[in-house]
């Protein structure tokens, strides 16, 4: 609970340090990515199941809500809910056969799924605008459009705190213990009476729904969405945020999202070298700090004491 309060304090006090709309924009993007990562961390960090296709779910949320709102005139809140539900449903349907696979095989199956979704998005240009992307109407409730960086900041901040709260509670619940047990050893967990298939599916569906929700919000916030957000590289970015921050650490996921979202903004001077730096950081972190930033720092602090 101390951590949650600290996070809430950071969210509440951060506006003091945010000088202009551009700062707010980065903070909002950090928040949205952090929401995805907290969800993804439940799957990767706690249940121990790798997914290289979560940008696909993010994209279903983003494009689903955008298409329903822009092409069929749905109210944005309804389209947002429907798109999130659609992503959860897809995750539930494909989750059962896919989650029987392990390790590399699971990674590749989720990767294949993500790529198929991104190919569909790029090809069905009648609905999605194809490679050029499409514009998305703003989020509105009863005629009042949510506009301005500040309003969005508070919405995203609130959602982030709520997601972290949900995740912390889930991890300490019997479900969370079951997830951690099957991360340790699936066989041992089953022997102890845990329905591993059901729990893995739960983590998969939940993380997919959270990714879709954040995707839909990102689309409505930015007012525009392109297939890049659905692609393989975005899936990788999400996984790297989780792993860089620290697997099986909810706050690690938030820190990872914050660092890796803000860093490229600061490094725009090195645009040319962005990929080299990103790839290099990925390799170096994994070789020298395989547990990720937050757990490694926590271990260091613990040793000091």
């Amino acid at each position: 609970m101390r951590g949650l309060l600290a996070l809430a304090a950071v969210v509440a006090l951060a506006p003091l340090a945010l000088a202009n709309n551009y700062h707010y924009e980065i903070a909002i993007l950090v928040g949205l990515n952090a929401i995805v990562c907290v969800g993804l961390n439940l799957l990767i960090g706690y249940a121990g199941q790798v997914s290289l296709g979560h940008a696909g779910f993010f994209g279903i949320g983003a494009y689903g809500s955008a298409i329903l709102a822009a092409r069929y005139g749905w109210p944005p809140l309804a389209s947002l809910a429907a798109a999130t539900a659609a992503a959860a449903l897809l995750a539930w349907i494909v989750g059962r056969p896919i989650l029987r696979l392990r390790g590399h095989y699971l990674a590749m199956a989720t990767l294949g799924l993500g790529i198929i979704i991104s190919i569909v998005v790029t090809t069905e240009d009648r609905y999605t605008g194809g490679p050029d992307g499409m514009s998305v109407p703003p989020l509105a409730l009863a005629g009042f459009a949510l506009a301005g960086e500040r309003a969005w900041y508070w919405l995203v901040g609130l959602l982030l705190v709520a997601t972290v709260w949900l995740s912390l509670n889930l991890i300490d619940s019997p479900v969370g213990r079951a997830l951690r047990a099957l991360h340790g050893s699936e066989v041992a967990a089953e022997v102890a009476g845990i329905d591993s298939a059901r729990h893995k599916l739960l983590a998969f569906v939940l993380s997919a729904a959270i990714a879709a929700l954040a995707g839909a919000l990102t689309a409505h916030y930015a007012g525009f969405i392109t297939p890049g957000k659905v692609g393989f590289l975005h899936s990788i970015e999400l996984v790297v945020m989780v792993v860089f921050g620290g697997m099986a650490s909810t706050f690690g996921a938030v820190v990872g999202a914050a660092v890796l979202t803000a860093l490229p903004q600061l490094l725009t001077v090195f645009k040319e070298y962005e990929m080299v730096v990103f790839g290099g950081v990925m390799m170096l972190t994994m070789i020298f700090m395989p547990k990720g930033l937050v757990p490694t720092l926590a271990a260091l602090a613990g040793r000091r004491r």
Binding site: I119, V243, G279
Partner: protein, 291 residues
């Protein structure tokens, strides 16, 4: 046989041969170390791009191609020595991220060292098409299929007739036992990465005149090669060849008769279906689980 069917089969076999080479690279590294090397596709890119740049510098084709293969081999060995070996025993996610990081790094370097343009390699022996059963066959296709066949034969000889090849097989069967009889696992890792990189570069050079090459071709080629390896059965050499050719044919027939827009999705749909229905692949053994 209708001319269009013959055309689809020929182009399917050509592309399939390339997938087979990439899939072989995946299988060799997987056997030696149980690592899936996501940077495999980048070796294909390096092969094509390095050849293009050496040709641009005025070298004839053969030395340029040799230089490109040598460069990719060195990079592959560096990857094994400085990125994979220090992380031995790490979890699957860790190794996946290390090799994906390497792939992104190599792509970034390629776009800086060379450029972001699309390059076409010249066909090895002219562009005069050959007529086969009403379909036209580019001479380059014969090069692709012929050189792939030679490479596969050479690999078979390497794994069955040489001590180093047998050492790699031994490590893939039982690492500890191999170490006990004096096989250096580190050297096996190095050799397997070198071999895979060389195969990838070879694929990139062969396909360069047909599909062109650029700094970002590695991702899709690598992933499709992986799909081929899964289809044939991960870790199986004959499986990689069969998987590659099958995938090439399915893709070409699917693009011809079903939908050309979804051509690139076919490999991944096949891969998902194989993973869900028969995870061992066409020629892979049934996996047993040790507790």
């Amino acid at each position: 046989m209708s001319a269009s069917l013959a055309q689809f089969l020929l182009s399917g076999l050509t592309v399939g041969a390339i997938y087979a080479l990439v899939a072989l690279g995946f299988s060799i590294i997987y056997n030696a170390s149980h690592v899936i090397n996501f940077a495999q596709g980048e070796f294909v890119m390096i092969g094509g791009m390095a050849t293009a740049s050496l040709l641009g510098a005025g070298l004839p084709l053969a030395p340029a191609a040799l230089g490109a293969v040598a460069l990719a081999t060195l990079i592959g060995m560096a990857l094994a020595r400085f990125a994979v070996q220090p992380a031995r025993g790490a979890s699957v996610v860790t190794l996946i991220i290390i090799t994906i990081g390497a792939a992104i790094l190599l792509r970034g370097l390629a776009s800086i060292v060379w450029d972001k343009r699309i390059h076409a390699l010249p066909a090895f022996s002219g562009d005069q098409p050959i007529n086969v059963a009403g379909a036209t066959l580019a001479p380059q296709s014969l090069w692709v299929i012929g050189v792939t066949a030679l490479a596969v034969a050479a690999l078979w000889g390497f794994f069955n007739r040489t001590l180093t090849g047998k050492a790699i097989l031994a490590v893939s069967h039982n690492r500890l036992a191999a170490q006990l009889v004096g096989i250096s696992v580190q050297r096996v890792l190095l050799v397997s990465f070198a071999l895979s990189a060389a195969l990838g570069a070879l694929a990139g050079i062969l396909i360069g005149p047909i599909t062109f090459t650029s700094w970002d071709v590695g991702l899709l080629l690598g992933l499709k090669g992986f799909a081929a390896a899964i289809l044939g059965g991960m870790g199986s050499g004959p499986g990689a060849v069969v998987g590659g050719l099958t995938l090439g044919l399915l893709e070409s027939l699917g693009a011809g008769y079903l939908s050309s827009a979804y051509k690139d999705a076919i490999a991944f749909i096949v891969m998902l279906a194989v993973l869900m229905l028969m995870p061992g692949g066409l020629l892979g053994g049934r996996a047993t689980e040790r507790v």
